[in-house]
């Protein structure tokens, strides 16, 4: 029976004025009953357009059908056949641009809450079968090194270990998870979930080596000499961009990467940790992506009274997930659209006192198809703030390219790969932000899976 209600079953959430003071998860997850009702909204259409929108081709109608029938573990197992991190994806994927964006129910109302159902299945499995012993995979005798324990590396390692490869993952930070632990905040993705996924991979036989910076501690070529027959590079996007405007090196200006790492990776919000953090009271976050939303919402939780998002285009073009913007607004973040910083101003001691901005209006569409923002003459004003967080994207890190012999870059400065994620060097594969520049968790996972298939093909020859 189809549930004809045109809107999604609402997600139970912490109240905005409560949650903006804690780091507990905002969305509390569907109950079994809610999940079944939501699953019954799925039309089980034959063409399943939702699946074409998914970078890892989750068998969406099949798993939803299982949930509708109350067979939750079966639903989870179906998701797991193509997606190694469902609890993560259900929480952080931009579903509105992917599966849910193509859902037929979305034509006359809201699409099926596919992300919420994916999360439900994963959480249900963890709660009911999470303690199950995982059998180590049987080795096929081939050794593969994965560089970077973020979404691309974890997805690649997961697929490879399932095929019998002996996988070792090298991670530069002291914790595994990449952007899932240093970037995305606890209130959006509890770190225990990431830790459980890593633990499951370990149980299958994947080895993790933290504190290992490939390119410095050891090079890709040395890994090959040590006996790895193939290497996957999934090192992420790297260096934060700044605007190159006056005052950016004043005290109180930092990158979102730095701000988020101090809070998420190094737990500056917990008193028992030593991590120092900028305790601003009025904070401007520059940028309109998910990273900007995360930084702004963290700032509010760290006790800032006023938190602004400064974005140069309008609410139509803002790239963050719809849900993040919705949550940020609810939590009291002040959005200043069509506004662009021209300089950061400070006092005689070098501390930030404000950010000078100019109003923008939208002109003709640019190369990206979005209307180009143009400055409104004489519209400059100063927003009084004591902290400025730059969340305007990242540049590619050159370390691996510089330290690996004859490894070729692509025209964007990332690592060059073909359709099978193979670089110009035999046996060396790459994927995720290290290739494309900053993108999404799920795209990185998709690239990791493509690379795993490419590596399997390469080593099966």
């Amino acid at each position: 029976m189809i549930n004809l209600v045109n809107v999604k079953n609402p997600m139970p959430e912490q109240k905005p004025d409560v949650r903006n003071k804690n780091f507990l998860e905002v969305a509390e997850g569907y109950t079994e009953d809610m999940a079944v009702r939501e699953a019954m909204r799925c039309l089980q259409c034959r063409k399943h357009p939702c699946m074409t929108g998914c970078p890892v081709s989750v068998r969406i109608p099949e798993f939803i059908n299982k949930i509708a029938q109350g067979e939750f573990e079966e639903a989870y197992q179906i998701i797991k056949t193509t997606n190694s991190l469902p609890a993560v994806c259900g929480r952080v994927c931009p579903q509105e641009n992917q599966c849910e964006g193509s859902c037929v129910r979305g034509v006359k109302g809201e699409p099926v809450g596919i992300g919420r159902l994916e999360r439900f299945a994963a959480d249900w499995h963890a709660a009911n079968y999470g303690d199950e012993e995982i059998e180590p995979a049987e080795s096929n005798g081939h050794k593969v090194a994965v560089i970077g324990a973020g979404p691309a590396g974890l997805a690649c390692a997961g697929d490879l270990v399932n095929k019998g490869y002996e996988v070792t993952v090298y991670e530069s930070l002291h914790k595994t998870g990449g952007v899932l632990v240093y970037g995305i905040p606890e209130f959006r993705l509890p770190k225990a979930i990431v830790a459980a996924e890593v633990k499951a991979l370990e149980a299958k036989g994947v080895k993790f080596v933290v504190d290992a910076i490939v390119g410095r501690s050891i090079t890709v070529d040395e890994l090959m000499e040590e006996g790895y027959e193939s290497v996957f590079i999934g090192t992420g996007a790297g260096l934060p961009s700044f605007m190159k405007i006056p005052g950016e090196n004043l005290l109180g200006v930092c990158s979102a990467n730095e701000y988020l790492s101090r809070i998420n990776l190094m737990k500056a919000y917990l008193p028992e940790y030593d991590t120092p953090i900028m305790h601003g009271n009025k904070i401007a976050v520059v940028g309109g992506g998910n990273v900007a939303m995360d930084a702004a919402r963290c700032a509010k939780r760290m006790g800032a009274e006023d938190v602004y998002i400064i974005y140069r285009r309008s609410s139509e073009e803002i790239p963050a997930r719809a849900e993040e913007i919705h949550h940020a607004v609810e939590e009291g973040i002040d959005f200043r659209y069509l506004t662009n910083p021209v300089q950061v101003v400070g006092d005689e001691k070098g501390y930030v006192t404000g950010i000078e901005c100019v109003k923008m209006e939208l002109g003709e569409p640019d190369a990206s198809g979005r209307r180009r923002p143009v400055e409104v003459k004489d519209s400059n004003f100063i927003l009084e703030v004591d902290t400025v967080i730059m969340a305007i994207g990242t540049k590619l890190n050159k370390l691996i390219l510089e330290t690996t012999e004859n490894l070729e870059a692509n025209d964007r400065g990332g690592i060059g790969v073909d359709g099978k994620a193979a670089t110009n060097r035999a046996g060396i594969f790459a994927g995720g932000d290290a290739v494309t520049g900053a993108a999404t968790v799920i795209k990185a996972m998709g690239a990791g899976k493509v690379a795993a298939a490419g590596i399997d093909e390469f080593l099966s020859k």
Partner: protein
């Protein structure tokens, strides 16, 4: 041996300690001028420290640190046999040595600990090295024997004249230049204000200067951007573009200002460590 185990701990004076630590991944690739990032334990912050030396065969690295903040106070609590939670490296670009024939290395205070591997490394590389090691007073003098054994000439100077020659490092450098000593490069390692002045003297003498900068950083791979410094009007990251830069291009006033950002929190933390725990965090 356990990973990141302290194999030896030696007090050089009341405030400065020399540790030898088992860290084979770092030691196998380490070069003079490079640094590591460490964490004492799960609750510790990540702090960068330039290596004072390494032994690739034994898999050990040397750290010489001054007790100045919360993390170094916690490091004081660790004894031989204890381990650090994490040590990652080697980070940064090694000291540039190609084409150099004669240099002067100038170290100030604790900076001498970091100047030592640079001076010794250059000396071992066949470069003639004059070392000026400056200290506030006699009690703070460190590494005199090591410098003497691993450089061509070592000049120990103290601000108050309580040991060897009474002079600031700047005075001594000027004197050496006035005597007609010629250098291909002058390398400054110490407090930013000293490095600024040394680099100015070098510039006036028409000699290339190199300064080893320290900055706040998290990952050490360029990801956080916290360590950015203005070098010749451009933003550079100390962790990946440095830590050594052309001293004539460094915006010293900005660097000094940026390095003070967390000083209030750090002062508070120091007191917190002392008052609440007496400096001790309990290790397993």
């Amino acid at each position: 041996m356990k990973m990141y185990e302290i194999l030896s701990k030696r007090k050089l004076n009341d405030n400065i300690t020399w540790l030898v630590i088992y860290a084979p991944m770092v030691a196998r690739k380490a070069k003079p001028g490079q640094f590591i990032i460490l964490r004492t334990d799960e609750y510790g912050e990540r702090i960068p420290l330039t290596m004072a030396g390494h032994n690739s065969e034994n898999g050990t690295i040397d750290l010489i640190y001054a007790t100045v903040g919360r993390t170094t106070m916690l490091m004081d609590q660790l004894e031989e046999g204890d381990t650090f939670a994490n040590i990652v490296g080697p980070l940064g670009k090694p000291t540039h040595m190609e084409g150099l024939k004669k240099v002067c290395v100038v170290g100030g205070g604790t900076g001498n600990a970091l100047a030592y591997p640079i001076a010794a490394g250059m000396h071992n590389h066949g470069i003639k090295v004059d070392m000026i090691a400056g200290f506030k007073n006699k009690d703070l003098v460190i590494l005199e024997e090591e410098f003497t054994a691993n450089t061509d000439r070592t000049f120990v100077v103290t601000d108050d004249g309580s040991y060897k020659e009474k002079a600031f490092t700047t005075d001594k450098l000027k004197a050496l230049l006035a005597e007609g000593n010629e250098y291909d490069e002058i390398i400054a390692v110490g407090p930013p204000i000293m490095m600024k002045l040394i680099c100015q003297i070098a510039q006036e003498a028409g000699i290339k200067s190199v300064a080893s900068l320290t900055a706040y950083m998290i990952d050490g791979t360029g990801m956080c951007g916290g360590c950015r410094a203005s070098i010749g009007g451009e933003d550079k990251f100390v962790c990946v573009d440095g830590p050594e830069f052309d001293g004539s291009l460094v915006d010293w006033d900005e660097l000094i200002q940026r390095n003070s950002y967390y000083s209030e929190q750090e002062a508070h933390d120091r007191e917190h460590v002392c008052r609440l725990t007496g400096g001790v965090r309990y290790y397993d």
